[in-house]
Assembly symmetry: C2
Homo-oligomer: 155 residues x 2
DNA sequence: TTGGATGCAAACCATTTGCAGATCT
DNA sequence: AGATCTGCAAATGGTTTGCATCCAA
């Protein structure tokens, strides 16, 4: 995960202006393990910046995503963001359905996957959903019935 | 893939009424290999049913998805639907970035994936994006530059 | 006959845009 | 100073809802 300073650094090096809001945004993402929706961000930021408007949040999320400091993922219940993984190399994620924290896994199944050679592979997605240690022990989880967000019948 | 009649059968057996529109809808999905957006469906259906309204399309798509005859997938550019795979068993898909046709693959990497045992796996997603034989030969494809829909940096 | 299906209009929500004024560099 | 940011308001696009009417069973 990128640190607050790495995020700010990246933004400033691209000619973006470092406003107070953007500093706070950088800190928020650097310190959050899970995914945040635009609304999450708006609510968090709103506590500090009273006149805050939603469009500024959207603008900044987009800018940061285009810049590569944020990763955008589309869940069933909408778009969410988190700080980019800084580990340079390719990896996948376990994603907690409860708290949405992610755990990296190094294993990539692509080398083992036989694809018809008429098909030209461009990219792939491999994500595992479930419940992390903390959420299991907190007892909030009813795995069998939970047809939760972020899921999709393992296609 | 389900056939027109299988779709109609399933709907009727659930007490849904088989209207003309729903027959056409069943046929459309049975005969379409790729994914269709609500707009695609609306436009197609609109040719036959002049007074067609968008909300009916949405309602039917939702009903059919809840019934299990359609599969819903969320792409970067929105929700899309296709007829459910009838092959009872678990499998994954290659998805063409150009025409969105899907090819099933039997290989599932989950058995080979080591997950921390504190993590309780619920489900997974494994999808491969690229260009199918037809789209490659039709020369419409510029793979290197295409930061296409339906994609997501293989995390 | 009658409850589900449809079309219409309007509501709703998330996201984007134009613009004027404020802020960073 | 000058370009970028921000807030506001309004537009947009996708999706849902309420209601009266219509139609399949």
């Amino acid at each position: 995960m990128l640190s607050t300073n790495q995020i700010i650094e990246a933004m400033s090096s691209q000619g973006l202006r470092i406003t107070d809001q953007r500093k706070t945004l950088a800190r928020l993402f650097a310190e959050t393990e899970g995914y945040l929706s635009p609304k999450d961000v708006y609510e968090y930021m709103g506590r500090t910046y009273s006149g805050l408007s939603f469009d500024t949040v959207y603008r900044n999320l987009r800018v940061m995503q285009e810049l590569g400091v944020l990763e955008q993922v589309i869940f069933e219940d909408g778009v969410k963001f988190k700080a980019s993984c800084s580990s340079g190399h390719h990896h996948h994620h376990l994603i907690c359905l409860q708290c949405q924290k992610t755990l990296p896994i190094e294993f990539c199944p692509m080398q083992l996957t036989d694809t018809p050679d008429q098909f030209q592979v461009v990219e792939h997605k491999f994500e595992i959903f479930g419940y992390c240690k903390d959420c299991q022990s907190s007892g909030k989880v009813s795995p069998k019935t939970d047809q939760n967000q972020a899921s999709s019948k393992g296609q």
